[in-house]
Amino acid sequence: MDRSQMQGLLRDMLRARAFEEAAAQGYAEGKIAGFLHLYPGEEAVAVGVLHAAEPGDYVVSTYREHVHALVRGIPARQIMAELYGKKTGISGGMGGSMHLFDRERRFLGGYAIVGETFPIALGAGYAVAYRRLPEAVICFFGDGAVNQGTFHESLNMAALWKLPILFVCENNHYQIGTEIHRHSAIVDVYKRACAYGIPAEQVDGMEVLAVHAAAQRALERVRSGDGPQFLELTTYRFRGHSMADPGSYRPEAEVKAYEAADPIAAALHEFQLRYPGAADLAAAGNDCLQRFTDHCCQEGHLDETALARLQAEVQAEIEDARRFAEESPEPSMEEARAILARNHRLETVVEAQA
């Protein structure tokens, strides 16, 4: 990997972190509402995988998809404007944080019902194979999603018909408040793919270079017609499940739940946030962004001034996106109705009277 590729990875990881922090800020200020699921801690996953993707590939993601969209090339302005519900958002203000779509960049959407990304990817893979094109479909999902029936149904069909799909499990070990050992009989998620004969690998999702290399290998095989591939990337989210979730359930919460039955402890009910924060993880040496920045510096790809410049550019881009979102106009109800009726444009349909 050459220096500019390395810097490209780092730049996107920094953009990802900065974008999400700006979104959190917008939420705290009451400018963004609804569920807001953020990505800090998991950047190496989206960045490593999507830097191995070609423009001709398709991407299917979940409700935690801002960073996938950003790295895929959707301008920060349009993503932020969507979070603000503005007309200039990538989904016209109709979708919101969990539903970013971009036809042009082959971003097939963020899906908020867990387990939906599998059949969407399956259909996209079918269409690609149908046309015998050398393209791949990249399907993102969490560790919690693999217990939905659609996971098993889709993996079977993908393997059966050798569909060009790269399944990417973002294993952050939590399904909201339920830790993986309490939701899955098999906690090495990649092993499940073996049941369908799909080649699968478990990779450290905190190491962007390892993720990138694994994704590149897998995507080459997918594009060459070998059928589906599976990557399990182990990672961790620094924040709660969403902005509405203080995330106070990790080990101390177990104590809290049991103590809640104790009338004395019940009085001491409200615990402060005990969730390991970004600082704790960085101190423990497991922040993917910090790790990669250190690596780039040590290898001589980056010096302090270059890093500072990069960070300044990233901040300026995100600040511009925020301002753009704030200043953009809102969509109208007429626009909403027109969107709903858009597919009628080539036919005569009896319109419902409102």
């Binding site: 509402a33 944080s97 019902i113 399904q175 909201i176 039955a261 969509p331 709903l340 409102a354």
Partner: protein, 330 residues
């Protein structure tokens, strides 16, 4: 008697039934350690253990089906589906299994299954997380649906649902969990499916349910200031519907306005209007009117979202129009 929140009322009801009958157990995503997304099962896992308060994987179809199978063996499962939007994955268990087994088996298998879930438009959760869908379940014979609008009803209707031998959906509302009200845990509760007149009135009947009830009551208060007395009926149940209470009221007021949060097309109001005109046609002074959600996936944008479901001014306008009154300033 004490003032508590809606979620606390549900929590107390669940606690009471778990304590009263060891055949009762609950399961769902994050109901245990986390205490439930809306805190409804808070503290219960510590009290009753994991066999009775079970955290599940994200497998709605199969854990709802688990409830069906366990009910066939005489347990009384209370399945929490985190929101009604995810119940679409459980439709087979609910519609093909729970609703059919008691009948298809010739009555051999009761189905003491309770499904708890919230529905409704909350605040900017997007089109996939803002659905109401109650009319879909109404169209399934064999399912019963309770729609509590107050903490008191949440408490008693959940207890009654758990004690019922039929599958009962207790449909909660995301924006009601933090509403406050008095709960009398010693009162004798009205039957599970009985409608209640929340506010009497002579000029028109407003029929509503769930979160639209407080909205209708506010509108009734505003109309009172204009000299209009709107009766407000809280259905409390969507299947079966307490027609007697609705018909008696409409025969008195001769005018009927239905307020529903769900989409207008083929919705709850359509069923109400059809049945009530069959029963009350010659006593009506005006066509039955509906104030309902727009037939549109819920837009994310806050203003459009708010405009996509009934607001107080929509109810006021419809009520005045029904009575041929001028619209005034608002």
């Amino acid at each position: 008697m004490s003032e508590i929140l809606y979620w606390q009322a549900l929590n107390q009801a669940l606690d009471a039934e778990l304590a009263a009958d060891d055949a009762v157990f609950t399961l769902g995503e994050d109901v245990g350690l986390y205490g439930g997304t809306y805190r409804v099962s808070e503290g219960l896992m510590a009290k009753y253990g994991e066999w009775r308060v079970r955290d599940t994987p994200i497998s709605e179809n199969s854990f709802t089906g688990l409830g069906v199978g366990a009910a066939m063996l005489g347990l009384r499962p209370v399945v929490e589906i985190m929101t009604i939007n995810f119940a679409l994955f459980a439709m087979d268990s609910l519609v093909n299994m729970a609703a059919k087994i008691p009948f298809m088996s010739g009555g051999q298998f009761p189905m003491p299954l309770t499904i708890r879930m919230p529905g409704g438009v909350a605040r900017q959760l997007g089109a996939q997380h803002s659905q109401r869908l109650e009319s879909m379940f109404m169209n399934v014979p064999g399912l019963r649906i309770a729609v509590p609008s107050t903490p008191q009803d949440a408490y008693w209707q959940l207890r009654q649902a758990i004690r019922s031998d039929d599958p009962v959906i207790v449909l909660e509302h995301e924006l009601l969990y933090f509403s406050k009200g008095e709960v009398d845990t010693h009162a004798s509760a009205p039957p599970l499916h009985q409608a209640l007149i929340r506010r009497p009135g002579r000029d028109l009947t407003c029929i509503s349910y769930s979160r639209m009830v407080p909205l209708a009551l506010e509108a009734a208060q505003a109309l009172h200031a204009e000299g209009v007395e709107m009766e407000v009926i809280d259905l409390r149940s969507l299947s079966p519907i307490d027609w007697a209470t609705c018909v008696e009221s409409v025969l008195r007021t001769h005018r009927c306005l239905i307020v529903e949060e769900d989409c207008r097309f083929a919705g709850v109001g359509a069923e109400l209007a059809a049945e009530l005109q069959e029963r009350c046609f010659y006593q009506l002074d005006a066509p039955i009117q509906r104030v309902a959600g727009l037939d549109l996936p819920t837009p994310f944008n806050a203003k459009l979202e708010a405009a996509s479901i009934p607001r107080q001014e929509d109810i006021l306008k419809a009520a005045r129009a029904l009575l041929n009154l001028p619209q005034g300033e608002s």
